[in-house]
Subunit: 484 residues, 2 copies
């Protein structure tokens, strides 16, 4: 009678028997009213213990699959199918082998590929993972790891000592005007952007974006279908003089202290003009201060957020580059009246930021480790930058043009080649990069490779440039049907 049931030794027997029986009942291979063997018989037939069978029968009875009749035995429950299809027609169409899924959600409207496996050397945005002071970090982690107050719920806005530490750091290092109650901890910079899109944008609102620019911002800000309007660059920074000629916008995304990816730095009068234009035109500026910590020869320009009191600036930063990407901790600094709407959006879209990491970062900053780490990384990245530039000049002279200020973690190598194909070819060789053309909205493309040198060691820098040389020779002028 139950000779269609086979159990294997891979999984718990009780679980398997439960699955086999319930499946057969649901698929109406065992019809309502059918008698099952006694538990003794079933155990004997399957070569398993009677306790196992009894446990499964009890579970199936509790769940309504089976019913006992006094003195008669165990039966498939009579009411199962009438409950499913009281009107009857279901009886003719047993659900065997599954159902048909309802309409599926639309595939993403974005054309760019989802980034996975982004930890290759030269991947833009990746800091040097080996230089992270893991021992000091772990010491602080061990300090914090057992605290009861870090186990439950704390605050949507973020762990208060971390907000205080960030506010103090930003006031001193970046000239940001802020108090801790204006700081909101986010799941990396990406959540910061996503929350701002949700809070600020209504259907039809325009968003101004540097062109070329940061794709993560475009994806987040454009996710509800709002028009993205490109702001052209002039001398590798956003062209402030072009703003009055563009459509009115609700948000303007920019990277004034190190344009991404071209590396230009807005000077003071451009900064003032930008902020004043925004104030006069009812436009909020999102200032992404993504790698200001790494200016090699001068202190970076102060953030535009701090230029004027009440500047219409939403300031964002992240520890993904200054500490580690895997922590996924970023922050927003917003005017007081903007805090509450952002917290609502954060609560609804994902809730709090994990506490232990927040507490560890807070202590890391408070005891001065953060400043020391930044100083070491600034030195290290400067050396890498020098080596990379020197290698590029020596080996790729004439093939590419390096475009960069003395800052940051990446360099653009501009040139006439199919940058998408070259980037993919390079990935197969074990080196990350992004094609410059992918950073453009619309058609005004320049081509090149965005190379993140921070994550590469000396040997990898030399190898990569050598590899690139042969890659460039193979991909030169092959721009195919690309619009130029």
């Amino acid at each position: 009678m139950i000779d269609d049931i086979r159990l294997d030794s891979e999984q718990p027997l009780q679980h398997q028997l439960y699955q086999r029986l319930s499946e057969r009942i649901i698929e109406q291979r065992y019809l309502p009213g059918r008698q099952l063997p006694s538990s003794r018989q079933m155990a004997q037939d399957l070569g398993i213990s009677r306790n196992t069978v009894n446990a499964v029968y009890d579970q199936l009875k509790a769940e309504g699959f089976l019913q006992s009749r006094a003195g008669k035995g165990v039966f498939v429950h009579e009411d199962i199918m009438t409950a499913v299809n009281p009107a009857g027609p279901g009886r003719d169409k047993p659900v065997s082998g599954g159902m048909k899924l309802p309409p599926l959600p639309a595939l993403p409207w974005l054309k760019t590929k989802r980034v996975e496996d982004a930890s290759l050397p030269f991947q833009p945005g990746l800091p040097n993972l080996d230089a992270f002071p893991i021992r000091s970090w772990n010491r602080i982690l061990h300090h914090q790891e057992s605290r009861r107050s870090l186990r439950g719920y704390d605050s949507i806005q973020g762990y208060q000592p971390l907000r205080r530490a960030i506010a103090a750091y930003l006031r001193t290092s970046r000239g940001v005007r802020c108090e801790e109650h204006q700081v909101i901890i986010t799941n990396g910079a990406q959540q910061a952007l996503s929350l701002l899109a949700e809070v600020f944008l209504r259907p039809g609102d325009n968003i101004l974006c540097e062109n070329p620019g940061y794709r993560g911002a475009r994806n987040a800000l454009g996710r509800f279908g709002n028009p993205l309007i490109p702001i052209p660059l002039k001398n590798e920074v956003l062209d402030v003089e072009a703003l009055p000629g563009l459509a009115p916008a609700r948000l303007l995304f920019c990277t004034p202290t190190h344009q991404y990816p071209m590396g230009g730095i807005l000077d003071l009068s451009q900064r003032m003009a930008l902020v004043q234009w925004a104030g006069q035109n009812g436009c909020w500026i999102i200032e992404d201060d993504y790698d200001s910590e790494f200016h090699f020869y001068n202190k970076p320009f102060a953030a535009i957020q701090g230029l004027f009191e009440n500047a219409p600036v939403l300031y964002m930063g992240s520890f993904s580059k200054t500490l580690l990407p895997a922590f996924r901790v970023g922050y927003l600094v917003v005017p007081e009246a903007v805090v509450e709407p952002v917290l609502w959006a954060k609560q609804i879209s994902g809730g709090e930021t994990p506490l232990l990491t927040q507490a560890t970062i807070a202590e890391f900053i408070e005891i001065g480790q953060f400043t020391r780490h930044l100083r070491r990384m600034r030195q290290l990245y400067r050396e890498k930058w020098q080596l990379f530039q020197q290698q590029v000049t020596a080996k790729l002279g004439g093939l590419v043009q390096p475009v960069a200020e003395s800052a940051g973690m990446h360099l653009v190598l501009e040139g006439e080649f199919d940058d998408l194909a070259l980037s993919q070819w390079l990935k197969a060789k074990g080196f990350g990069s992004t094609p410059l053309s992918a950073h453009f909205l619309g058609e005004q493309v320049r081509t090149g490779l965005v190379m993140g040198f921070a994550s590469a060691n000396e040997r990898e820098i030399e190898e990569c440039v050598t590899t690139l040389r042969s890659g460039l020779e193979g991909h030169r002028h092959r721009r195919g049907n690309r619009v130029s």
Copy 2:
């Protein structure tokens, strides 16, 4: 000449001097062309070192605030204001004391208060923080904490060993039909809901929700303004027979294995009827399996996701209750064709889930600690549940009616009182709760308190019930102008 500048000893002098001078220039208190004192003179006047003044002057020159004229000294840069207002009018309206902010974002449309400070005993949803096996957990954390591969980027979908461990756990314990490639790690259950809303809902799509029901789900699913349609309960579970009479919907949110907050359990024929109704009506079911691990006397019913192959079910769970809320790790299990759109939404809205916690949970599950922990918690919560019920019966008999199956981490105490006022009063006494009336959409309110007993110890349980007795006497029948 610079006698309006005062420095204090609280902050770095260099930072203060930079701030004072840049402010005065931006606010046009020092006009373009004005000469500043020599660094020697400035240092003497302020009583600080000349190196400090030189560093500030260099920075301000680099940023375009100041300019040197050979042999003449240091001046406020001539070009500042013309850059800001090339047409001239700005010269008459210096920006002093700040700007006016652009229009602010709308305040949240949701009426409920944002939850903060949610770690009081009896707060619904809070597990027992003291019973967490912090030593075993930390041992595993120390195992994982220094791994280089946990520092960078890994995968939007989530750490593969964790997805594998979750898939195995759900197959065996919950009868979920899944493989690891269908599992998506989320920032708690809340992000799971938020992602589903983003992926599945188009303007006008309806969402069916149990009434009363879980507010976090309503907030997430209703955040784009889609209509929330209440499904009434019958015998404390969603009334499957009522579904055909409701408007067509794209999503249906439910808690079949322990209705939140009323505690009912859908039986097998109701489960089958629900899933078949959804399949026939093109509706996706979101199955929130939020506390199925804590059924005290029987194994919980298997998840409805596993009832049929290709059931139109989006299954979600979280480690916030089984481990700790502060980890903020949850998961979705979705049909293969739904994975990619959800990953896109996750990438855009916040990126990866922090890696170290994922790796630690994976090992915690793999070595069997998770199962042992659940077994201990099931025993512990059963004892708390028994004590709480016994205390309520003994001390609050006639004042409230406890509503609950033998499962979970909370109990509803139903009764005729102003539950909002009583909940607030109780909070002031140090005990968490949520008013039952707040879990309703529309007007069909019942009143009571949702009490999370899992987080309370024996003493707190006894104290809380005693406190409640006096609170109930104070709040009886005072329902004011509430619609009944």
